[in-house]
Symmetry: C2
Subunit: 169 residues, 2 copies
DNA sequence: CGCCTCAAGTTAACATATTAAGTTGAGGAA
DNA sequence: TTCCTCAACTTAATATGTTAACTTGAGGCG
C-alpha cells in the first residue's frame, strides 16, 4: 500500500482507487515550504492590514522606508521584494495618499530618494502597533525560540545564496 | 547619528541628509524574511522551470500531484498554495497540455479528483531531475544542516499556526 | 570634447492573482 | 419527502504582477 503521509484524508476514501498514488512521503522542497509558512503567517496579518486600508505590498514599502530613509527606488525593490514596475505603481498610490515623498538627488539626477512624510511616518507607527499585538500572539504560538532560529536561518540562506551567481549555469 | 545597518550604501552619500533616518536596525519580520529567502532560492530555480516550459504555479500543482494522487481541487489549493480561481486556470492549461486528468468521484459528485497522466508523470520526472542538480548545488551553498533545520522549522511554524483560528480576532 | 556603455527609471502590453457573486450537489432536520 | 444549509466548485470583474522595449543621464575613454 502506498504511503500517504499528509493529506487531509477528508475525501480520501471517495477518491481512492481511481489512480495509483505515488510514494514521495513529504514535501521537502524549500520554495514551497517557505511559501506555505509565509501564507500561514499572513493569514493572520492580512486582515489587520486590510482594516487599516493597506495592501501587503504597500506595507512592505512603508516598512522598508521606516527602517532606512531616504532610499532610492532600486534599493527599495530589494528591501520590499518587489519588481520595479510594481514598486512604481505602489509609490504612485502612496504619494497620492500623502504617505511618501520623492526627492531627487542633487548630485545624481538619476536617483530618486523616497521618504515618508510626517503623515506617512505616523501611519506606519499606527499600523505597526496594530500588527505588534498580533505578532506577539503568533510568536507565542510558534514559540519565541523557533522564531528567532528561523529568522537567523532565513538570513543565512539569503546571505549564502547572494554569494553565487544567479540564473542558468 | 542614526543607525543605518543594512543598506547597499551605494548611493548613500548622494541621498544623505534629505530626511531623518529612523532607527530600526534590521528587518526582523517573519513574512518579509520568508519572502526574501524564497526569492533568493527561486532566482536559481525559475530559469530551469522556464527552460522546461513550466511556470512556478504549474510546477507547484504538478509536484503536489506527484506526492499524492488523486487529490481533489480544494486540497490541491492547500498543497500548491494557490487560490481556487488560479488553480482552475492552471488545471485547464495542464489538462490541455495532456499532463493531468480529472476524475469525478462516483460517490460524491461534487468532488473532482486530479491525477497525472502517464505523460504528466514522465514530465514531472524529467523536470524533477533537472531541478535536482541545481538543488544539490544550492543545498551545498546554503549548507545541508541549515536546509534541514530550516525545513523542520518551517513545518513547525505551519503546524503550530494551524492550531489557532484565522482572520481577525 | 564626443562617443560609448551601462545604470536608473519609465511605460505599455500581457499574464496572473484576488475578490465577489453565482451554481450545483450532499446531507440533515421537520 | 421537502426544505434548509453548507461545501465544492465556477465564472466574471478587478487588481496586481511580469516582461520587454524604451528614455535619459553618468561616467569612462580615445
Amino acid at each position: 500500500m502506498p504511503l500517504r503521509t499528509r493529506t487531509t484524508r477528508k475525501h480520501e476514501d471517495e477518491l481512492a482507487g481511481v489512480a495509483e498514488a505515488t510514494t514521495i512521503p513529504f514535501e521537502r522542497a524549500l520554495p514551497v515550504g517557505l511559501l506555505r509558512a509565509r501564507e500561514a503567517v499572513m493569514v493572520h496579518m492580512r486582515p489587520i492590514l486590510r482594516a487599516h486600508g493597506t495592501t501587503e505590498q504597500q506595507w512592505r514599502v512603508l516598512r522598508a522606508l521606516n527602517d532606512v530613509q531616504p532610499m532610492d527606488k532600486t534599493t527599495l525593490t530589494n528591501h520590499a521584494a518587489l519588481l520595479m514596475p510594481s514598486l512604481l505603481r505602489i509609490l504612485k498610490d502612496l504619494k497620492q495618499a500623502g504617505l511618501i515623498r520623492l526627492v531627487r538627488s542633487q548630485t545624481n539626477r538619476r536617483l530618486t530618494g523616497v521618504i515618508l512624510t510626517p503623515r506617512g511616518a505616523a501611519y506606519v507607527a499606527v499600523v505597526t502597533a496594530a500588527l505588534a499585538q498580533k505578532s506577539i500572539i503568533l510568536k507565542q504560538v510558534i514559540g519565541q525560540d523557533t522564531v528567532e532560529q528561523l529568522l537567523d536561518l532565513l538570513r543565512t540562506v539569503e546571505l549564502r545564496l547572494s554569494t553565487i551567481k544567479t540564473g542558468s549555469d
